[in-house]
C-alpha cells in the first residue's frame, strides 16, 4: 500500500515544514516535472502541483501528482473550483488518491479572465469552503449529501488563505470556516509585507486557528524587479511592498537578491508564532530551491518528500498521529 501523507507526518511531529511548488508544463510530457521533482526530492517535505494556475491550461494537476507518487514523492494535489463541478471534483480526488496522492489542497481558483481562455465558462459549482468539506467528508467515507463510500480515502486536506486581501476580518472568518470544514493545513499567499503578515497572524492566533491548522507561509522567489512589478500589479491578491522592488532594482545580481529575500523571509517566518512551515513558490526557478532551503538552515529535512533511492515505504520511528 502507498504511504501516508509525509507533509502530515512532518507537521504533526511539530517540525517546521517545507514544501515547494511546481507548475506543470504546457505540453503532454512529464519530463520537466520529473526533472524538477528530482531536484526537490531531498529538500522539501512535499511537492505541490498547481491546477491550471492563473487560468492557463496546463498538464493536469492530477496526472502530475500521480507521476510524483509513482516517483515516491509526497505530492500536494491542488484542486480549484473554477474548472470542475462537484462530480468532476469527486472523480479527480478519487483518481489522485488511487494513484497514491495523499494531500489535497482546495482553492477557489483565479478568475479565467486573465488566463489562456478568457472566453471560457467558469464553473464554481462549489466554493473553496464547500470543497474543503467535500474532501474532508471523503476522508471520512462520505460522499456529498452523506452517501457512504465503499472504501473511504486517505488524504490530508488543506486550504489557502490570503493575509493581504480585503477585508482582512473576512479572511480570518473564512479561514475559521475552512478549519471547521476539515482543513488541516493552510498555505498562505506569498508573503513580502512582513508587518502586515504579522498583524494577520496575530488575528489568527487570537482566534486559536494556528492550533487547528498547520499554517505554511507562502514565500516566493522573485527573479527581477520586473517580475516583482508584475506581481504587484497583475497577480490578484499579491502585495509587494515598494522597498522589495527597490532592492531588486538596485541589486547587481537581482536573482541572487531574490534568493536572499527568500531566505530572510523564511528566517522571519520561523520566528512568527503560529507559523508551522513555509511553502516556497519559485515557478520557473525551481532549481534554486535546494539552495534556499540550505541557506535557511532547513536542510536536511526530517522526512524528505521522497528518499533518494527507489520507492519508499513508511519508515520506522515516525510519530504518525492517526487522530
Amino acid at each position: 500500500m502507498s504511504k501516508p501523507s509525509n507533509l502530515r507526518k512532518v507537521l504533526e511531529a511539530g517540525h517546521f515544514a517545507v514544501t515547494a511548488e511546481v507548475g506543470p508544463p504546457r505540453f503532454a510530457d512529464f519530463a520537466p516535472l520529473r526533472q524538477k521533482a528530482e531536484l526537490l526530492r531531498r529538500y522539501v517535505d512535499a511537492v505541490n502541483i498547481t491546477d491550471n494556475q492563473s487560468a492557463v491550461a496546463r498538464l493536469s494537476s492530477q496526472a502530475c501528482c500521480g507521476e510524483l507518487a509513482r516517483m515516491g514523492i509526497d505530492a500536494v494535489f491542488q484542486v480549484t473550483c473554477r474548472d470542475r463541478n462537484r462530480i468532476a471534483i469527486q472523480s479527480d480526488i478519487l483518481g489522485a488518491v488511487a494513484q497514491g496522492v495523499r494531500n489535497i489542497l482546495c482553492l477557489s481558483g483565479d478568475h479565467q479572465r486573465f488566463g489562456s481562455d478568457p472566453q471560457a465558462k467558469s464553473v464554481f459549482d462549489l466554493d473553496s469552503v464547500q470543497l474543503v468539506r467535500l474532501a474532508a467528508d471523503m476522508t471520512r467515507g462520505l460522499f456529498p449529501g452523506g452517501r457512504k463510500m465503499e472504501v473511504s480515502l486517505e488524504a490530508y486536506v488543506g486550504a489557502v488563505v490570503n493575509p493581504f486581501a480585503d477585508p482582512v476580518d473576512l479572511q480570518v472568518i473564512k479561514l475559521k470556516k475552512k478549519a471547521r470544514a476539515g482543513a488541516r493545513f493552510v498555505q498562505t499567499q506569498c508573503v513580502f509585507d512582513l508587518e502586515r503578515f504579522s498583524r494577520f497572524m496575530e488575528r489568527v492566533r487570537e482566534a486559536g486557528l494556528d492550533r487547528e491548522v498547520g499554517i505554511l507561509a507562502g514565500v516566493s522567489l522573485l527573479r527581477s524587479a520586473g517580475a516583482a512589478r508584475f506581481m504587484q500589479e497583475r497577480v490578484p491578491g499579491v502585495t509587494v511592498p515598494e522597498e522589495v522592488v527597490r532592492r531588486l532594482e538596485l541589486a547587481p545580481d537581482p536573482e541572487e537578491e531574490g534568493v536572499k529575500i527568500c531566505v530572510e523571509t523564511i528566517d522571519r517566518m520561523r520566528n512568527v508564532k503560529g507559523v508551522a512551515g513555509v511553502h516556497i513558490m519559485a515557478i520557473a526557478l525551481e532549481e534554486r530551491v535546494p539552495e534556499i532551503v540550505r541557506r535557511a538552515g532547513l536542510f536536511p529535512r526530517p522526512d524528505p518528500a521522497g528518499q533518494a533511492l527507489g520507492p519508499v515505504s513508511c519508515r520506522e520511528g515516525n510519530r504518525v498521529d492517526q487522530g
Binding site: 478568475h111 466554493d127 468539506r133 486581501a165 473576512l170 491578491g237
Partner: protein, 223 residues
C-alpha cells in the same frame, strides 16, 4: 428590470442585409428605461440603417414602432396591421420579447436587435448592473440584500476569494467586490455573525442548471 444593449451596428446590418422592407419594433418597458430598445432607439436604428443602405446604393424602407410590452401578445397585436408589408422585424426587446413575438407570429421572421444582459438595476445615471441570476432559491436574507451569486465574479457563498483588493474585484477592477459590500453592510447592521455560518453547496437544480424552469399555477382557472 431586464437590461440589454443594442447589438453592434455591423451585426445588425449583416442580419438585415437581404431585406429591404424592415420593421424595427421597440419595447416600451425595461429596455426603454435602460435606453437601448425604446421608440427613440428604434428610430435611431432606423435612421442609421437608412443612411448605411443609401451609402451602399440600396435604399431600404424602414419603419420604427414601439409596443408597451413585447412579452405579451395583446400588445404585439397592435402591430398586426403593418406586419404583412414588412419582410422582417428587428425586435429591440429583450430575449423574452423576441421569443414571444416569434412564437406569436410564426410566419414572420423576427430578428434580435439587442443583447440581453440579464436582470439588473440602475446604479447611477447612465449605468446599469446585473444583480440577479434567478437562481430559484434566493438567499438575500443571509447576505444583507446583496447577491453573491450574481455580483461576485465567482459566485462564492462562504466569503471572498483572495483576490479582493481595495474593495474591487480581481476579475474586473471596475466592479466592486460583492463580498466587501456584503461585509460592510452586515458590519453596519451588527450582523457579522452571519458570515461565520457555513453555507452548504447550493442546489443549482432549482436554477437554470436543472433545465429550463416552469411556473405553473394550478389554482388559476383555465378560461
Amino acid at each position: 428590470m431586464i437590461i440589454g444593449q443594442r447589438k453592434p451596428l455591423k451585426r445588425i446590418f449583416e442580419m438585415l442585409d437581404p431585406y429591404d422592407r424592415i420593421l424595427i419594433a421597440g419595447c416600451g418597458s425595461c429596455v426603454t428605461v435602460c435606453m437601448s430598445g425604446g421608440l427613440k432607439e428604434a428610430e435611431e436604428t432606423a435612421a442609421v440603417l437608412r443612411l448605411h443602405r443609401q451609402a451602399e446604393g440600396r435604399p431600404v424602407e424602414v419603419r420604427a414602432r414601439v409596443v408597451e410590452r413585447q412579452c405579451e401578445p395583446e400588445f404585439l397585436e397592435t402591430l398586426d396591421a403593418d406586419l404583412p408589408h414588412f419582410q422582417v422585424v428587428l425586435s429591440l426587446a429583450c430575449g423574452v420579447g423576441v421569443q414571444r413575438y416569434s412564437l406569436f407570429r410564426p410566419g414572420k421572421l423576427i430578428l434580435p436587435g439587442l443583447d440581453t444582459l440579464g436582470s439588473g438595476l440602475p446604479v447611477r445615471q447612465g449605468l446599469w448592473e446585473e444583480v440577479c441570476l434567478g437562481c430559484g432559491d434566493c438567499l438575500l436574507d443571509q447576505t444583507a440584500g446583496v447577491c453573491p451569486i450574481t455580483r461576485c465574479a465567482k459566485g462564492l457563498l462562504n466569503g471572498p476569494c483572495g483576490g479582493s483588493r481595495n474593495g474591487r474585484c480581481e476579475a474586473n477592477t471596475e466592479n466592486h467586490c460583492a463580498w466587501q459590500i456584503i461585509y460592510d453592510r452586515l458590519a453596519a447592521r451588527g450582523e457579522l455573525n452571519l458570515l461565520e455560518e457555513y453555507r452548504p453547496p447550493k442546489d443549482w437544480s432549482r436554477g437554470h442548471w436543472g433545465g429550463p424552469r416552469r411556473l405553473e399555477r394550478e389554482d388559476m382557472p383555465i378560461v
